[in-house]
Each structure stands twice: as structure tokens, then as C-alpha cells.
Symmetry: C2
Subunit: 339 residues, 2 copies
């Protein structure tokens, strides 16, 4: 039997917790019958026990680990370290550091989660900065996009690291597919973009190989979802703006589509529109992954519901199952040998 996958879950972070986290956990237990995992649920013991009873969750695959405190949504990253000791979030990461969990999941305060994760787990050897990666649908499946906001200014080596980290993440989640890396730019010709991009592009060309990733050159915003590349690398400022602009555009379109449809046409297109909405359901892409630390940490959207939380928990399972950390080490070894 393969190794047991151990996931640390901060059950207290985000809106409507622990209700939504426990409901999400219930969904996961119902859908994943493999018995090859354990869910370590961190939070106020009495409250968690009550919520588990409320949702009739009984399983020998879960264990509650009492944590007296909870990180507040108002906490700033500056005071986080001082104030977040013995919170459910802190204890998750500590559990992971001690080797008792393979990954941590929280829907709590993003800034604090980043600071605490970095402080406790520390940076991997050979990686200069941690990155925030996300999933983004494309015409053929799914993209990994990074950085989404952890680093607003990046040099060429940071971008090269992101390519290595992102393609390792892609391989761990989609083991049967090949990572194809592109750098987000304002044109596809070699002369386009900043010096940082041009230098990163040259380095990625040298690193491109069947062992780690195929480098596909520059990609423009309108082609992110075309499916030709599936690992999109950019600095955190651009990545954050691009992701949010895509979200805003999708929202704008669906709002206007709803307005345009008459009652009659709504009835007749109900099932096909449901099908369409299912495919583009943003809850399926829920979960930003911190990469570059000595262990992966997943941030679930604070405002997402239990189904969204379920998807981020499923993502944690897949990441560990796909051996993300050894994929990353392999990629970094390869890149160091080429450098």
C-alpha cells in the first residue's frame, strides 16, 4: 500500500466557518473512498465536534486537533507572527513542519497565511521567492498560472523559478499531461517586452526539455485560455491583474446574458445553460497554491462555499498524491545542472 496522505485543515478560516469547512470535508469523505488519507482538522474542539455532529460526519479518516485561537480577518501580516501562535492556522503549518502532515489548507487571512507559512516552513534551497499559483480553465483543460500576487516586482531568475515550480505543480496535478510553459507578454515576437522578460525567455529556452517542461515562448493575454500552453508565468502584479480581469469579464458577461434572456428562452435553455455554468463554475478552480517553501500550502478563497472548499481539499489530495515536492526537486536539480 502506498503512503497515507496526511492533510492539515484549518477549519476556522474564511466566511461561515467551521460550517462550510466541515460540509466541504463531508463532501470529500463521500466522494473519495480510497482510504489512503487522513484529515487533521484544526480548530476549537467543542465547536468542531458540534459541527461534525450537525452534519452527521462520522469517519475514522479524520482527527480533531484542538486549537484555542483563530486568526482574525483584520489581522495584518505585520503583527501576524506575534498574534497567531496557537491559532488553528499556525498549528496546521507547525504540524506540517513536524512531518505529521504533507500539506496545509486554510480559507483564512491570505497575508497572514503567507507570512506564517514562510516563517515556519522556510524557503526551499535554490528558490529565491515563494510564488502564489492558481488554476485557470483553458480550451483543452486547465492552466497553472503564477505568480498571482506574492511578488509585485520580479527579476529574470524569479520568473525562471516560477516556471520550474509551476510545471512541477502541473505535473503533480495532471500526471498524464506535459507542462508547456509560456511567459505572459504584450506580443509574441522576440523583441517585445521588458529586458527582464527577454532574459527570462532566453534562459527558459535553454531549460526547455522533455524532462521538465516544453518552453512555448511568449503568450498574449487573449491566448491564456487557448490551451496551447498550460503553465503561464508572469510577475505577481500582472498575474493578479490578469486573473481578476478575467473574473470580472466573466461576471460581466454572465450578468448581461441573464439580463438579455427572456423568461421563455430561459426555460428552454435551462439545462444547456446549467451545463455551461457547471463547466465554468469558479468553485472548481478554487485554491491558490504557495510554492517554493519546504512544503505546499493551499489557500482556499475566504468567501467560497462548502463545495468550493471541497475542491480545494481535493486539490490538496491530488498535489500530495502527485508528489509535488519531489517533482519540484527534480525540476530544480535539472535547472541547476543546466545553469
Amino acid at each position: 500500500m502506498s503512503k497515507i496522505i496526511s492533510i492539515a485543515i484549518d477549519a476556522m478560516g474564511g466566511e461561515n466557518s467551521p460550517d462550510k469547512t466541515i460540509e466541504g470535508i463531508k463532501l470529500f469523505l463521500e466522494k473519495n473512498k480510497k482510504n489512503d488519507y487522513i484529515l487533521n482538522i484544526f480548530g476549537k474542539e467543542q465547536e468542531l465536534k458540534k459541527t461534525l455532529a450537525k452534519y452527521k460526519v462520522v469517519s475514522n479518516l479524520i482527527q480533531i486537533i484542538d486549537s484555542k485561537n483563530v486568526v482574525s480577518d483584520e489581522e495584518s501580516p505585520m503583527t501576524a507572527v506575534k498574534n497567531s501562535k496557537n491559532t488553528s492556522m499556525w498549528n496546521c503549518i507547525q504540524h506540517q513542519l513536524e512531518g505529521k502532515s504533507d500539506i496545509s489548507l486554510s480559507a483564512g487571512n491570505t497575508g497572514v497565511l503567507l507570512v506564517v507559512s514562510r516563517m515556519i516552513l522556510k524557503m526551499m534551497n535554490g528558490v529565491s521567492r515563494p510564488a502564489l499559483a492558481g488554476l485557470w480553465p483553458n480550451q483543452n483543460g486547465m492552466n497553472v498560472v503564477l505568480d498571482l500576487g506574492a511578488n509585485i516586482e520580479c527579476n529574470e531568475n524569479n520568473l525562471v523559478d516560477f516556471a520550474e515550480l509551476g510545471s512541477a505543480l502541473f505535473k503533480s496535478i495532471f500526471p498524464s499531461e506535459k507542462p508547456k510553459v509560456s511567459l505572459l507578454n504584450i506580443g509574441s515576437e522576440e523583441i517585445k517586452g521588458t529586458e527582464v522578460l527577454k532574459n527570462a525567455s532566453k534562459k527558459l529556452k535553454d531549460l526547455s526539455s522533455d524532462d521538465n517542461f516544453i518552453y512555448n515562448g511568449y503568450i498574449e493575454g487573449n491566448n491564456i485560455m487557448s490551451g496551447n500552453s498550460n503553465v503561464i508565468v508572469t510577475d505577481g502584479f500582472t498575474g493578479n491583474v490578469a486573473l481578476k480581469t478575467a473574473e470580472g469579464t466573466a461576471k460581466f458577461i454572465s450578468k448581461n446574458l441573464k439580463k438579455s434572456l427572456t423568461k421563455m428562452s430561459l426555460i428552454f435553455s435551462y439545462f444547456s445553460l446549467k451545463n455551461f455554468k457547471d463547466k465554468l463554475d469558479p468553485r472548481k478552480y478554487n485554491g491558490a497554491i504557495f510554492l517554493g517553501l519546504n512544503g505546499p500550502v493551499v489557500k482556499s478563497h475566504g468567501g467560497i462555499d462548502s463545495t468550493g472548499f471541497y475542491y480545494s481539499l481535493d486539490l490538496c489530495y491530488k498535489i500530495v498524491k502527485g508528489n509535488l515536492m519531489s517533482q519540484i526537486k527534480k525540476n530544480l536539480n535539472h535547472s541547476n545542472s543546466v545553469k
Copy 2:
């Protein structure tokens, strides 16, 4: 009677020209019966005459100005100046410099148009760099977004200039509305973003007044289309990525929507979907405006059809009618008096 609006049109640029440009001109003549304008059409005289006859365009509001050459799509901005003299594009801008036209319109090579426009018209006093502005739909109407790619790296004064130029453009196109400026950033709190953004934000706060524009602070990508702000200011790299990402997302969604709808539901939702598509028709937002030169120049999308070209011609008319250049001068005077 008010002044005659004189528009210089490069009829030879872009795909399917001069067919599409002449058809676009025909549409404009049919829809705009005000008789307060003249269209100066630049291109190969015999070809233009034949095309005008083909589309049965007869009007005393047009005049053909013979230009022997055409800027090639393959021309690079580096060799543009040497090779583009006496082209239809060059002659448009020259006509404008001589005061015979108020604005120029071309669907030709963007890079060459930028270089030639800047060389002939020169920068306005008090503006450090030209910007490329575009229209973008929002929930309440339309945004002006700039820069869209002319300046990939910007300092705080460039961004302040863009705010002044963009709000002047907004006022000229939508005279009954108030320009509300926001800086595109990765968060709405004051501590977010680069030093350049923080400094620009402080300056815009000082400039915010009923006379020029209201400064609304930072905006995130997901709120560009919310309608709370209508002049979105950013550097050319971010603006280009954001605009193209929105285009790509819209295309991705409509492709998937079409796939999801069954024949039956397509029939029943035909009219409402048509209504929806009309509202979001990208041809309506066709036309990027070069700002900061001693005269406005509009770039129509090279691949757009005659309807799209019509919209960019209509945009030229509105820009001159709305006194863009004096709006810009007023804004810059105000900003200099505050500085």
C-alpha cells in the same frame, strides 16, 4: 454654424482595404446626416474611385487625395520613417499637421502609425509620453482605459499625464458624464502596489476636482467593468495584458456557451442572444486613440470589418466634436497650476 469637422482617412491600411474602409465610410455617410464634416480619403486615386463606384458612394462630403504608396504590414517601426513618405498614412498625418484635418484614422501598421504620428505631430508641451487609449464597456456605459501598450514601463508622472489625457478624452466623447479616474492595482488599500503607483495616487488625490476629474483611488481587475470608475489608468504592459485577457475570456465564454446550447434552446433564445451579442459587439469598441501629440490619431483594428471601421470613424467625429484638444489643454493647465 459650428466649425466643419475635417477627418483624414487612410483608406489603404488593414485587411481587405480599401473595400472595408470605403464600406465603413458609406455607413458613416448614411448614418450621419449633419453635414458638418468633410472626409479626406487618402490612397491610390484610381483604386479608390473604382471602390467608391462599386459601393455606389456619391457625396460632396468626401474628397480623395491621391497617395502613391501604402505602408506594408511587414514594415518595422525602425525603418518606417524612411519608407513611409508619401504613403496614404503619412499623408494623412501631414494633412493634419498643416491644419487641413483635425484628426487622422488608419487601420494600418500600429507601430509605424505611432512613430510617424509622433514624428510629424510632435509631443504636446507638458506631456512626456504619448499614450494609447481604448474604449471598454462597463456596467453603466463605457470606460476609457490607458495606456494599452505604448509605454511598457512608466513613472508616476506618466501615470498622472495619462489620467489627464484619459479624462479629457472621456469628456470629449461623453460630454454629459463626469470622468472618474482609478489606478489599476492589485488591491484597494493604500499600502498596495508599487512605489510608482503609491506616488501617482497621492498626486491624483491632489488633482482631483470638479474641474477635471474625480479620483476614485485604486481599482482591481475584477472591478474594471463595474462602472464605478470610467477612466482606468495603468502602464502599457499591464493595460495591454488586461485588455487582451478580457478579450480572450469573452471569446472563451461565448465559444463554450455556443457549444453548450442545444439546437432547440438556440432557436428559443435566438433573439435574446442576438440582443446580448449586439450589446457586447467588439466592433463597437474598435479604435485605439493616440493621446499626448499635437492632434489626435485613431488606430482602427487591422482585422476589423467595415462596421468596425465605421465605429472608429464615428469615434473620430465625436472626438473632434467634443473638442478633445482644448479639453486636454484645460486639464494640463489645471494640473500645472496645482503642481
